[in-house]
Amino acid sequence: MPEENRNTKEKLICVHCGDDCPDPVWSGENVFCCTGCQFVFEVLNDDDLKVASKEAAAAGVKPRALKEGEFEFLDNEKVLEELIDFREENTVKATLYTPQIYCSACLYILENLNRLDEGIIESRVNFLKKEITFTFDNSKTSFRKIVELLTTIGYRPDLNFSNKEKPKKAGIMKILWLKVGISGFIFGNVMLMAFPDYLAGGKVDPDLHKFLAYLSLVFALPLFYTASDYFKSAWTSLKIRYVNIDVPLSIGIVTLFLRSVWDVTSGAGFGFIDSMAGLIFFLLVGRAFQQKTYHSLSFSREFKSYFPLSVIRLKAGKTEHISIREIEKGDTIRIRNDEIIPADSKLLAESAMIDYSFVTGEAKPVEKHKGDKLFSGGKLIGKSVEIEVLKEFRQSYLTELWESYSFGKARESYVSGISNTAAKYFTLIVFLIAISTLGYWLPRDFGIALDAFTAVLIIACPCAIALSIPFTFGTAMRMLGKNGFFLKNDLVVEFLDKTDAFIFDKTGTLTKIGETGVEYIGKQLDNALKKAVKSGVMHSTHPLSRLIFDYLPGKGSECDSFNEIPGKGVEAIIGETHVKIGSYKWLKGPLTELAGELKGHEPDNPETRSYISINDKILGYFAFHSVYREGIFDFIKEISGKRRVIILSGDNASEKQFLESKLGPNVEMHFNMLPDGKYDFVKKLQEEGKIVGMAGDGLNDAGALTKADVGIAVTEDSAHFSPGADVIMLADKMPRLSKFFRLSNKALSTVYISYIISVVYHSVGFAFAVQGLLSPLIAAILMPLSSLTIVVFTTTKTLLDSKFLRI
């Protein structure tokens, strides 16, 4: 039964928690969304988790794959130090990132870990960050034991160097919440204090009036703390002779306060403290809305998170685990299948296949031979090999490559183009109005002149303008985030559609990582020959052999003789048939014939091919090509109408013709690009005045992504390495990128419309102000009303836009 269920595409519902199961875990006939649910479900009727887990083990609940000795390296003190937060004698505290945390059941089991291991004193889960923090007694258990326990129950922690990086943003948010709370409190109270004056129209008891007026002045003082960021920003921008939006804002706030002090102390009125508090409150709410943090994402994950924590060193015939920082020149280390080469080294084994796709963008693994130099960052494919270290980890190629990029982007925060252009003109106009008002009234009436002048500055306070960007972009950012397109910061929305040059990486961005298409060209093979070829590649560990094996139907049979020649190919004899599969050069001998179908197929094409020959006759070849993401070509064509689109690939030009046929002449293509070349390309475009967007996935794109105005890191899963990116995008959302561009465009027009609305409000205000007629009541109505209008308009319009675009 369950076998059938597994194949059907109907929605799977977790037996325990009722959630959908995107990644189902099966146990008999029951399906669970995660191992946590499975575990809790199985122990739910038991009192004690410990008994239950033993029973579960006895009943054959399959523990998650834990390779023997896999976590042995955690016994190494140096490695341990990288991972734990703090230690005091035997009490150790550590935080682990466990991406499998999925529902409440996970929380339940992980927070009750001490039932499974007595040495654990306490464990706490942070659901959003998918982190588990635990304190344990080192004399009763060990870090390794806990990690092994977690792995066994299905929560394999992600162990790497960047675990300890702590986001600073949390602290900023905390202060912001404090400020919002305090200014909201003041806003509410001062507004109530102003009500008697507004409602009774000056007939308030003079003592009460005086008491309330002075009280509201006292309440205004903390507002200078809550608005301090605006003053600071205005001051910094003035210092470099520049006017940003915070300049008129700060002038407005200060004028509001000084005018209120004057009004209250001279007994002229109640002052504008309620407007001032409301203004600051709304601004801070806007700022809080702007900050959307994706807790489980890190936008500048370091390259180190890509490396393993430790390696196996062979010394005097013994193996030991050492931290990769301890690797020294001349060490012999062992690298296993799928492991990364941590430092530049020399290959000691006969041959090895190294996959450099992440570092260089080359799609296919490269074959290396004994004595060849291996650069750090390559991934070993196939059986384990021994290598001799030539350079320490810190001086290796990858480390140096990264260090040269780390200063790439000086810009920490975006300067929003539109809001500052608006601010510049707005401030200019306001000062013209203010000065001419002063000029008009001064010869006539000094009192009115002062009133009118300050009133203009108060009304000029561009609160609505300052709110339109946070609410428009903030909403857009949330809508994009729901669709697997995570922005580092809301101002990226503005730049997204403004890019007039867009660069794509090929390997891993346009193509799917880990998928290769195989095509056979040449004389048709009958079933017997297919079987012979399949048998020939059956025992080879070469990646291309594996691909051919998977491509051919049926089953292989045992060969009578089999020989694999590194760098050339494989040779097998099955009965009467002598099969050779490999490079053209190797197959071609004086006696070989070429099948008629192959005439005209030049063997020097850069495309990777594996030729087959049967009994010294070359029949045809297998061609390998990348598999492109669905819908990717339509999307590129769509965006290339408006901007320059360039493909920069670290791979060879073998797919140039294919790409040209799909994309037409509008798309530029450059191949064999080194990481530096990509970086320089972006730089050159920027020097030409272009706003450059780039989508890439590998370390070879890291520099260019950092340099680009909008760097989009494409990733299969969001926990992956993402170098200095502005956006993290889930790879399968790639074809939807054009919709995201359109939303960015719509968001910009929303901002412009909201500017027009706020200008209308300001004009009404100026009409009162220049005549010296601005009463606190009018200000108290006009200012919050304009802010609210903008907030409601921008949020609603952006939500409707994204609905309309079907985002």
Binding site: A170, W177, F185, N189
Partner: protein
């Protein structure tokens, strides 16, 4: 009319108490993780559940 001033002072005292409570809560990291506690509350403590089942049996 003087009684109004007294009332205002009294109500402000109450309001400020709550403001202080809010500031304390923020500084005490209570707003750092708003999701996990909402899941945590769904489960009884182990020890408590054990007692419950025992008392049910008894």
């Amino acid at each position: 009319m003087k009684i109004v001033i007294f009332l205002i002072v009294a109500s402000l005292t109450v309001a400020i108490t709550f403001l202080v409570a809010f500031v304390w809560a923020v500084k005490n990291n209570q707003f750092d993780d708003t999701v996990t506690p909402s899941h945590r509350i769904l489960f009884d403590d182990f020890s408590k559940r054990k007692q419950d089942t025992q008392s049910n049996k008894g």
